[in-house]
Symmetry: C2
Subunit: 341 residues, 2 copies
């Protein structure tokens, strides 16, 4: 049957307390003893019992991933990344989906954290972008790590893993500029999401860097949906009115881009010959359109694993690892963008 700490202690010829010290990486164990114990651990393939640990100890070995589901692909990637880190470090992961728009969300999560004795939390947008909510959690005795859009953490509430959407958006806009485009439209995502704001900033920055005049009529409000891509592109490419027709569209995510692509087809505009369209996120969508989308890729699994490791090192009170990591989504050039003619 499964080996317990007693078996290891017996095999190593030490007390269970010493075994406990070794598996918890505590100081005050002689090197020789440590090795003896480690050997026994390996031989017996011993793995500490999480329930016992959680019950006995002051600290907990559970962390939770709280999410509001904006995008199933994103969530799954995040979840699997976090899970992978937790598994490696012998932590348990609780999954807690919730609704960011729900008024009682703070209370709900606080209760959950208290009841399950959770040591740490990982938050992704939009939850990570709700300061009040984050504040309430930090005020409990729970570590928090947020994954957010931006280049630097917006506050000191918790460590963050930043995704530099701004820089990526600048790069992707620059890509369009390099192809000779000047009239580049921007179809925004939800205005409340930091990522939309950041991507917009990057877009503006790229224009400015190339001395391209900003044209407000090329900015369309959207909401990260396929539909907003369709209507946005229709509006932009309509021949009525006196607006400038863009030669390229920067869509705030791939869904919008897919919608724009579709609208273009309806209007008999060929992509990328007559119009370049780029997306953002490198979601499966971007490979399931024709032509395939030029987009920006972010390694979500890796970001998640990174965030989880950051959280776990906090929880274990190892050196206050203040290494705030930053990721910059990477331009992926596919077939939906081409030279402007």
């Amino acid at each position: 049957m499964k080996a317990t700490i007693n078996d290891v202690a017996k095999q190593a010829g030490v007390s269970i307390k010493t075994v406990s010290r070794v598996i918890n990486n505590e100081t005050s164990v002689r090197q020789l003893t440590r090795e003896k114990v480690q050997l026994a651990v390996d031989e017996l393939n011993y793995q500490p019992n999480l329930s016992a640990r959680n019950l006995a100890g002051a600290k907990s070995f559970s962390v939770a991933y709280i999410y509001d589901n904006p995008n199933a692909y994103y969530i799954i990637d995040m979840q699997e990344g976090i899970l992978s880190a937790c598994k490696k470090q012998g932590f348990e992961l609780l999954i807690h989906p919730c609704d960011a728009k729900n008024e009682n969300i703070t209370e709900e999560v606080v209760n959950m954290v208290k009841h399950a004795r959770i040591a740490g939390l990982i938050l992704t947008p939009p939850l990570s972008e709700m300061p009040e909510f984050v504040k309430s959690l930090v005020d409990l005795d729970v570590k928090v790590v947020r994954i957010m859009s931006g280049d630097v953490a917006p506050d000191e509430l918790s460590p963050c893993v930043m995704v530099n959407d701004r820089e990526a958006a600048q790069t992707i806009t620059q890509h369009l500029i390099d192809l000779g485009h000047k009239d580049i439209a921007f179809i925004a995502g939800d205005a409340k999401h930091m990522s939309t704001i950041e991507r917009y900033k990057g877009y503006r920055k790229a224009l400015k860097a190339s001395n391209i005049d900003f044209n407000k009529s090329l900015i369309i409000e959207g909401d990260y949906s396929f539909d907003s891509g369709v209507s946005g592109a229709k509006q932009l490419m309509s021949t009525e009115g006196n607006n400038t027709r863009p030669t390229a569209i920067f869509s705030c995510n791939d869904e919008i881009a897919a919608g724009a692509l579709f609208a273009a087809r309806l209007m008999n505009i060929s992509i990328p010959e007559q119009l370049s369209i780029v997306g953002f996120e490198n979601s499966p969508f971007s490979r399931q359109t024709w032509p395939k989308l030029t987009t920006a890729d972010q390694p979500n699994g890796q970001i998640a694993e990174d965030a989880a490791n950051l959280l776990l090192s906090q929880v274990r009170k190892q050196k206050n690892q203040v290494t705030i990591s930053q990721y910059v989504p990477k331009l992926i050039v596919r077939d939906s963008s081409a030279q402007c003619n």
Copy 2:
């Protein structure tokens, strides 16, 4: 601070063992006592500590959802449905993604079940369709519930929640027949998946019921991907060769249908005027195409919750709930199917 069983016992004026009996719904507690305890539980908002339960008891209060990720939307829906049931019954859910193609998968999962002392497992396709794998798990002391495609369970290994793809496929094919279509093509999903086989059977059954001759050239092999939809539709609609051009295409899922839709556009075939295309699954894809897809919807969250409840009642050894449920995906008529002319 959090109330423990001791607090409840004190408040109710009974021993902790009696409290334990009440919260575990055991017999041999007088009605009056039960009510007294329940009152104290409610007043103190007592919730049993999972770690303590798992540690002390012979039985475990953890179940796991093992999945191989074929489709993020599906997984998320399932996960949330299962989670909801577990929460209600005070069970903990462990999430375990894995790779069905991995050779050591059985060993991996068996180890995990043993180590985490898991009481029950929920399996979805493709894992639920791997008899050897399921057998190995059932042979452990762990309850299993499978979600599968079909009308009746294929074996006695475990209770199943069946999704009757066959009947749904028949209905959706019948829908096309009712619209006057006779040359109805079928683009298959992965041939290894039961769902593909079932949907194919339903398709054949509908044809037969209406005395429509089966035309093998209208069957295309696919793999549940957008690309296979594109190439399948191209092949079907090509004017070269001497094959019959279908007036309708039954796609084995929405992704295939989206691909077919796209191919049709490329070939200047207007949907649904010249060609009807139907999907299956009612995934977000189906609403993000133009025209929107006629498809079949399955209530994944509900199916999952059902499966979880079935599992939990097994685990708790409540009446051997042999109620095997069956779901039939429901036809959703949208804009991609129309009268044949």
